[in-house]
């Protein structure tokens, strides 16, 4: 059913385009009417186009963001892999040549090169001194430069084209990233720290971050044999990967031999052979323990495509609110156009133009606006996309290279075409819908400019039948949504039935009560559905929030619009002065023009709703930093990560004067699969020991009922190799968790070296994972399952009372440089994570603010047209003695009244909905977050939106004030 919607829309658009083309070619009367109405008032046509183009701009911008993310992520294939398509990793150094030979002979189809390397982790620092700089996590690489340049068929993408011969003696070649960080250049000395040893080397050259030179950066290319000399016995772990971590009791990860495989084809095209090549590689290494096949290029390109799709969806979803505002504006503009030309339309019908011809003339006029606004919108969208990319770059400029991404603005020609088609189609369908509605006019009433008669006879029967049909459809949707756990039916079923019921209820009770009953039900359901039907609403994403926003705003606007007249009584009680007269008149127009006012309220409310919603969550998460710190820290203060090749022993940390306790974790990066994520996905795993539970029990949001308390659950996992603790964010991308593991559910963990799988069951769920521990298992399981591939490289450190955790972290880094220690306070880690989250929300708010611009521009457009429409009335008011400033104030009061109502509606809806989501539902997982109103953000939003609305209305208000009564009245008489 849902799959048919795009097909039906496409058919509708094609049909409309064909009809317009036919009329343009063969129906000169329709063409003339449409074209001349567009060109009659060019300034106003420009306003219509301006008001309509933002929707297309937003759609195009979200596509461009996707293009840019996709292209930038795909470019990592060039910068980090170059000609390399697959990577064969062999633990230890002894078996590398033998396995490489087994891969080389006989040749594997579609493989055009193999390259052997040796790598290990290391810390690197400049010579000891006051300005000493260090990189705790670098990669030491041994490779034959001549062989590397010959690898693949393009030396330019290896990054080593100009690097000269393989380093010898004390020479070293380093990557540009490392050179920047250490602030070193050719001729400078650096010191390597690995496996408890250190070695000083002199930089011979600096190579760019491209291809082989960029793989695993920051890189240090050392003379052949250097790694073996540094690693000593650790170079050959006994028993391959299944050996206990390290062989020298240091817990160090052993070095590895790598074989890079280049597939036939260029940097990007070679990945198409990955499936067959990877299968052949696996066949060749079958039976060899400790060998991992990584389909690096294919995985990276798949991730790039997934990232692009995800960002397009996020920005498209957020942009949908603005697009809806744009649609409401377009409807409003067309209704105003029709009102203004009512008598003309009546005359056209009177002289013989059929209803469908009238609709087609209006539709063609709208089609011209649609095409013009879509074209202008695409151009504006390029600009909006650029701004988003610039802001997003500042968010992606992270310290952690794992998450750093260089964005390069990119757009595909197809993107612009798609943006144009989508934007123009939305406009076209909107204006045709409006035209069909407007074509149903009574000729006499139109000519005499009398209000349309209330529905009687057939129209009333039809509306009742449609109402009954709506109730049935809504009920069926609800039933289907509940039984299939499908969010759309569950969310929209009741509101559709409730909205439809209004046409029946109004026959029995007054309209005010009917609307209150129908729309009130829809409103309640929209707010509470996440609590009422949690299963059906689980895993919902942007489309659900957009649908919810539309339901809430439509219901609230209908209720407000139906009851707004109650305000008249209040306003009429105001005292009498020129000022209060402008207030009375300023209220009178929006109260009398219910449809227009509703459209404007809807435009404001839907955008403000989303902006406030985002503010609530941004504010909530920021305010919870101390709580998250308390829950995640387990009573420790500083997080210490160290180089896997030279991990810092717990004893070394304990020996530091600031430290009172240490708990250590074994870290591995295996692959996981779950029911909701069947594709093996890399995610961290931490093996904890009993000391983790000694100071304070880390908070759990859920646990197996078999455990009486959180401590029992943790201890059970520690002692049971089949149990695991995860968080709601396990295997998640950005945004709220889409699907999550619950207590008792299974997951598969895969050792990439042995390809062994193990099923674990979730014993408990953590409140969060701000330290990115990943899956938490007992250290015994980590040791037996991963062996040397799970070094004890992570620690949590408790410091003495009275010492600042950040200061202590800095001192630990300086003192344990040789171990590549990276230390930071738990609080700062959480603040950093929250800061990134907040930055992203701010970016989305900025993007969404475009929707507010649509609302404000829409109000301006409506005001401009109102001035034209009311010239005669303004003339009369001036003739009667209204001062020009009163006329001006009347328009400003009107704009302010609409803006304040719309903003207030959006704010209230967002606060109620977010409160409900946070306190009464499981939508945001099991995180316990206290609700708080972001007063500052709301005040800023309120003031800025209101001020902008008044500024946008100032020009038409001044125009109205300047109208000369005699001129205005001469137009009429």
């Amino acid at each position: 059913m849902a799959a048919l919607i795009p097909v039906a829309l496409l058919a509708l658009i094609v049909g409309l385009v064909l009809l317009i083309s036919f009329d343009a070619l063969f129906r000169p009367t329709i063409r003339r009417l449409a074209v001349r109405n567009v060109t009659r008032r060019r300034g106003e046509a420009a306003l219509v186009v301006l008001g309509s183009l933002l929707g297309t701009a937003i759609i195009t911008a979200s596509f461009i963001v996707g293009d840019t993310l996709g292209a930038s992520t795909r470019d990592i294939a060039r910068t980090d892999l170059g000609p390399t398509d697959e990577v064969v990793r062999i633990v230890g150094l002894g078996r590398g040549p033998e396995i490489a030979e087994s891969l080389r002979t006989p040749p594997i189809p579609n493989v055009d090169g193999l390259l052997e390397l040796v790598v290990s982790g290391a810390a690197v620092a400049t010579p000891d001194g006051p300005d000493r700089r260090a990189e705790p996590v670098a990669q030491v690489v041994e490779v034959d430069f001549d062989a590397a340049r010959a690898f693949g068929n393009d030396p330019g993408v290896t990054g080593l084209a100009a690097a000269g011969a393989t380093p010898t003696g004390d020479e070293v070649v380093i990557g540009e990233e490392l050179a920047d960080k250490l602030d070193v250049d050719r001729g400078d000395s650096i010191t390597l720290f690995a496996y408890g040893k250190e070695r000083s080397l002199t930089i011979r050259s600096v190579v760019p971050h491209v291809g082989i030179a960029g793989f695993g950066s920051p890189n240090v290319f050392v003379p052949l044999g250097t790694v073996r000399a540094l690693a000593g016995p650790a170079a050959e772990p006994a028993g391959g990967s299944t050996a206990p971590a390290g062989t020298d009791d240091s817990g160090a990860a052993p070095p590895a031999s790598l074989v890079f495989v280049s597939n036939a084809g260029g940097v990007f095209e070679g990945a198409k052979h990955t499936a067959s090549v990877a299968a052949a590689l696996r066949d060749r290494v079958e039976g060899s323990p400790g060998v991992e096949i990584r389909t690096a290029k294919r995985d990276l390109l798949d991730d790039a495509d997934a990232n692009a799709a995800e960002f397009t969806q996020i920005f498209g979803g957020i942009g949908a609110f603005s697009v809806i505002a744009g649609i409401l504006l377009l409807i409003n503009i067309f209704v105003m156009l029709a009102d203004e030309r009512k008598s003309e339309l009546g005359m056209l019908r009177a002289v013989g133009l059929k209803r469908n011809q009238l609709v087609r003339a209006f539709g063609m006029e709208g089609g011209i606006y649609s095409v013009l606004s879509a074209a202008a919108g695409v151009i504006a969208g390029i600009g909006v996309g650029r701004v988003i990319v610039v802001v997003a770059q500042s968010i992606f400029n992270q310290d952690d290279p794992q998450f750093r991404l260089q964005l390069a603005f990119a757009l595909e020609p197809g993107t612009l075409l798609l943006g144009f088609i989508v934007g123009a189609s939305i406009s076209l369908i909107t204006v045709w819908g409006a035209s069909i509605r407007l074509g149903r006019l009574n000729v006499i009433r139109a000519i005499r400019d009398i209000a349309e008669a209330p529905a009687t006879g057939r129209r009333r029967t039809r509306s009742m039948i449609l109402g009954a049909l709506g109730i049935v459809v809504g009920g069926l949707m609800l039933q289907s949504g509940v039984s299939n756990d499908a969010w759309f039916g569950a969310l929209a079923g009741v509101p559709i039935a409730a909205f439809s019921s209004v046409s029946l209820l109004r026959r029995l009770i007054p309209l005010r009560l009917a609307v209150l009953a129908g729309c009130g039900t829809a409103l309640f359901w929209g707010i509470a559905v996440f609590s009422i039907l949690p299963d059906a609403m689980e895993g919902t994403d942007f489309p659900a929030f957009v649908t919810q926003g539309v339901i809430l705003v439509a219901a609230a606007v209908a209720i407000v619009a139906t009851n707004d007249d109650l305000l008249s009584g209040v306003v009429n009680r105001l005292g009498v002065s020129n000022r209060t007269l402008s207030i009375r008149l300023g209220f009178a127009y929006p109260l009398a023009r219910v449809f227009r006012t509703s459209m404007l309220l809807g435009m404001y409310a839907i955008v403000v709703f989303t902006l406030t919603f985002l503010s609530v969550f941004s504010n909530l998460f920021s305010a919870q930093a101390p709580k998250f710190t308390r829950e995640a820290s387990a009573g420790y203060h500083v997080l210490v990560n160290s180089n896997a090749s030279n991990p810092v022993p717990a004893g070394a940390l304990l020996a530091h004067s600031d430290v009172v306790a240490v708990t250590s974790f074994q870290r591995a990066f295996p692959r996981f699969t779950t029911d909701f994520q069947p594709k093996p996905t890399n995610w961290p795993l931490s093996g904890f020991n009993a000391s983790f539970l000694e100071r304070s029990i880390p908070a759990l949001s859920d646990r197996d009922p078999a455990y009486p308390d959180d401590a029992s659950a943790w201890r059970a996992v520690l002692g049971d190799p089949t149990k695991v603790v995860v968080s709601d964010f396990f295997l998640q991308g950005g945004g709220p968790p889409e699907a999550r593991l619950d207590v008792g559910e299974p997951l598969q963990v895969i050792n990439p070296l042995t390809r062994e799988r193990r099923e674990l069951r979730v014993a408990a769920v953590m409140t969060g994972d701000w330290l990115f521990n990943g899956a938490m298992v007992g250290d015994a399981f980590a040791t037996t399952f991963f062996g040397g591939d799970a070094p004890t490289s992570r620690h949590l450190v408790a410091i003495k009372p009275g010492i600042d955790a950040d200061d202590a972290a800095a001192r630990l880094e300086g003192a344990l440089l040789q171990h590549g220690v990276q230390a930071s306070s738990v609080a700062s880690e959480i603040e950093r994570g929250l800061g990134q989250q907040e930055s992203f929300i701010t970016l989305m708010q900025g993007y969404l603010a475009l929707g507010l611009i649509i609302g404000i521009a829409g109000l301006g457009v409506v005001m401009v047209r109102s001035v034209r429409e009311r010239r005669r009335q303004i003339g009369m008011l001036r003739a009667m003695g209204f001062q020009s400033r009163v006329v001006r104030s009347t328009f400003l009061v009107e704009a302010g009244f609409i803006a304040v109502q719309g903003i207030a509606l959006g704010v209230v809806l967002a606060l109620v909905t977010s409160y409900q989501l946070l306190t009464k539902s499981e939508t945001f997982g099991d995180q316990t977050i206290d609700f708080a109103v972001p007063w500052t953000s709301i005040t800023v939003l309120f003031v800025v939106a209101l001020a902008a609305s008044l500024i946008a209305s100032a020009t038409p208000a001044n125009q109205a004030a300047r109208i000369k009564p005699a001129v205005a009245l001469r137009i009429a008489d």
Binding site: I450, A451, A588, A592, R872, M876, M880, G881
Partner: protein, 235 residues
């Protein structure tokens, strides 16, 4: 006794770009309090322009207009607007009611403008609606009233603040003969009560009802246009 309105050598020129179209050529006219004056003449002769200039709705290019002894074109726009609110009422061919206000709200507007208390304004507006025969439709909006009813609301609005002078521009132009008679009777009735009325019209019926006819042609008052009709003719 000084006339209520004393216009001397009023000149008005419309300018469109470089084109100048003289609309009034040094027109002089005096109107006494309580008079019912009809301004008549062919289309385009300057009748409406004369009304606009004498009432202060439009600026003039020469001459002076004294209303109740005050030179309205020497006033600032704000002062002149205030003067209009206090001394004048208007009725136009197209009624020009405010569509979003009900009949009684339209009528009370001039009172509210001059600072009358809301409750008093509502009472007087309701009474005026009664007087024009619309006491039963105070809450109806303009689009719910017939043309004749709308014009009666417009007359009520013009009269409610008891202005010194009521200006009416083709008040029966959009009405059928029955409605036109009703409105005309209304104007005659209030004039009989002492209200000064100046009507721009093509309608000979109104002309016949006026105490004085001012005839215009090509922007000038022509012929015996300033003659005062005898009381017997009026009757």
């Amino acid at each position: 006794m000084a006339p209520l309105l004393d216009a001397q050598s009023v000149t008005k020129i419309y300018r469109t770009g470089v084109v100048e179209v003289p609309a009034l050529h040094s027109v002089s006219l005096t109107i006494d309090a309580g008079e019912f004056v009809a301004v008549m003449g062919p289309s385009g002769c300057g009748k409406t322009t004369l009304l606009n200039c004498l009432s202060g709705l439009d600026d003039i290019d020469g001459g002076s207009v004294l209303v109740d002894g005050a030179d309205i074109h020497a006033m600032s726009d704000a002062r002149r607007t205030e003067h209009r609110a206090n001394h004048m009422g208007f009725v136009f061919q197209s009624f020009n009611l405010i569509p979003v206000l009900s009949a009684v709200e339209n009528v009370e507007l001039p009172l509210l403008l001059t600072g009358t208390r809301s409750s008093t304004a509502r009472e007087r507006a309701s009474a005026m609606l009664e007087r024009v025969g619309l006491g039963h439709r105070p809450t109806h909006r303009p689009n719910e009233l017939s043309g004749g009813e709308q014009q009666r609301v417009a007359v009520a609005r013009a009269l409610v603040s008891e202005p010194a002078i009521v200006w009416a521009d083709e008040p029966t132009g959009n009405l059928d003969s029955t409605m036109a008679t009703t409105v005309l009777d209304l104007l005659r009735e209030v004039n009989a009560a002492g209200q000064t009325i100046v009507v721009v019209t093509h309608d000979d019926g109104i002309g016949a009802s006026a105490q004085r006819i001012v005839r215009m042609q090509d922007g000038e008052i022509v012929g015996a246009s300033a003659e005062r009709l005898t009381a017997s003719r009026k009757q």
